[in-house]
Amino acid sequence: MKTIILRTASTYLLPLLLMFSIFILLRGHYSPGGGFVGGLIASIAFVLHAFARGLDNTKELLKIHPGFLMPIGLALAFLAGVTPVLFFDLPFMTGIWYPGQLPVIGSLGSALFFDLGVYLVVVGVTLTIIFTITESA
């Protein structure tokens, strides 16, 4: 597997795929996509990198254990959900929207942060599972 081509390719593939995954995440509100699929694409990027460069390299690149992304993602999504409760006295999960439009993303609102949380959790979960299996296989 660890052919030179793949190694070289993965160097470029990783950032490319990550970019793509974020694009998918951001456009989710308007076209097919969203945090979940975006997260999966990002994980695939890392998995490919791991295949090419070895698991240890990927881990080093990530700096933190991928499992750590799960509480971060959950916390982000949770915050997006409770912000209206804490600061606006609105019910849980009420969408809070920044007035005005941004490119690509469209309206900026709490839903986006929520989706970002989903994205992080999915990356964390997928990588944790696959890395753990590979390690103990």
Binding site: F68, P71, A75, V85, D89, F92, T94
Partner: protein
Amino acid sequence: MTQQLVLYPLLLQMFLSIVLMFCWRKISWQRVISIVGSIINVGVSIWLFSYIWENGTQIVLAGNWKPPFGIIFVADTLSATLVLLTAISGLAVSSFSSASVVAARLKFGYFPIFHFLLLGLNGAFLTGDIFNLYVWFEIIIISSFVLITLGGEKAQLEGSVKYFTLNILASMIFLTAIAVLYGLTGSLNMADLALKVAAIENRGLVSITAILFLVAFGIKAAVFPLYFWLPDSYHTPPSAVAAIFGGLLTKVGVYALIRVFTLIFVGDQFIENIILIMAVLTLISGGLGALVKNNLRKVFSYLIICHIGYMIAGLGLFTEVAIAGTIFYLIHDIIVKTNLFMVSGLIFRMRGTNSIRNLGGLYADYPKLSLLIAIPLFSLVGIPPLSGFWPKISLIIAGFQAERWWVVGAIIFASLITLIVIAKVWASVVWKEKKELPVRLNFRYFDKLITIRKAQMIAPMIFLSLVSLYIGFGAEHIQQVSSRVAGELMDNQQYIEAVLGK
């Protein structure tokens, strides 16, 4: 402040789980956070309960979308009561876990998952949306899978395969039922469903959907002939896990049955009869199983099944008196069963085994703890005026009024078997002479624990015993709650109006 009150228990548990995940491997922190959080949770739940008691059913619209469009959380008296009971059991088990669950398990996410489980339970009690209920159920089962396999011992794995398969099967049937319901009504909000289902002309389809729900929740509630996963798995995980399972997991199934069959599928004679027959067979089967088993936790597992029969019988009789009996029993059972499994854990720590044949001598070695153990044991039997006794009055009255003699007979039969089983347990575990067992190397016997750990194990038992004594001696208050719940349930218009605001 109180506008979102319904959600506070959920938000708190979610918050706790996330914080605990951040404290990965820092188990001393986790212990403290879990216990403190659980105490706060009890406070919040009491607040919620008293608010509901004063002001009636409350709703929160998640995302601020008006019903039936968004997900809605509804706290009527039943939900608030169950949330409170979950908080109480949760606090007890949290403290018990921090002493009895070995550090290796704590390091692998025991506490975060435990709080996710509590989150799932609270959510299931509070949600007013059928698909959301499914999702809560999934939270519950995935947490319970993780907890039941945590440690990966042989018995655990074998038990969990059965647990896993049958619970997944239940989820699939549940999902199928939701699909049919959505296909028929286009709605997921339970109050809205109640209206729309009532308007469906093809009653046969409604009946089939109801049966699918009955099977799905029946598996969760461990009703005959759907209970098989329970006796094969409940004795395998650590006793703290078994405590929360024994106290609460099957009760979610019972809750769901109660909710669905008092709100959405009402007045189907065929189904009511089926429920009654299932209840009677559950009472009998569970009792017979408890009688022949020789492992303390297996005996308790079968008793769980047996006593689910009481609650289901009340639902099947479907009168206000009967439902009040069901609710009272539910309240009693959650507290006592949680306590019982902690007792089994304590005994395990004392002797290194749960086999009744090899146990004995507790009375000589631990006289005071034996008396403490006696409280849940005899509450379970329903020695009056302890807690298990009172709901039987309602159930028997209801059986008499409906002239269902066989139901009354089964209730009596189950009570008798419970009495005999518990007396047998008492005689051989507490009274019998101590049997010399081979000492297990490095096993953390109760006597070897440091004082704080001992206290963490004993205090929750005292706490729950006091609660069950209160349920017994203060039966008046509990009965008021149960009657009010029964009144609310029997008149589903009340719920519908609270949700849809008509």
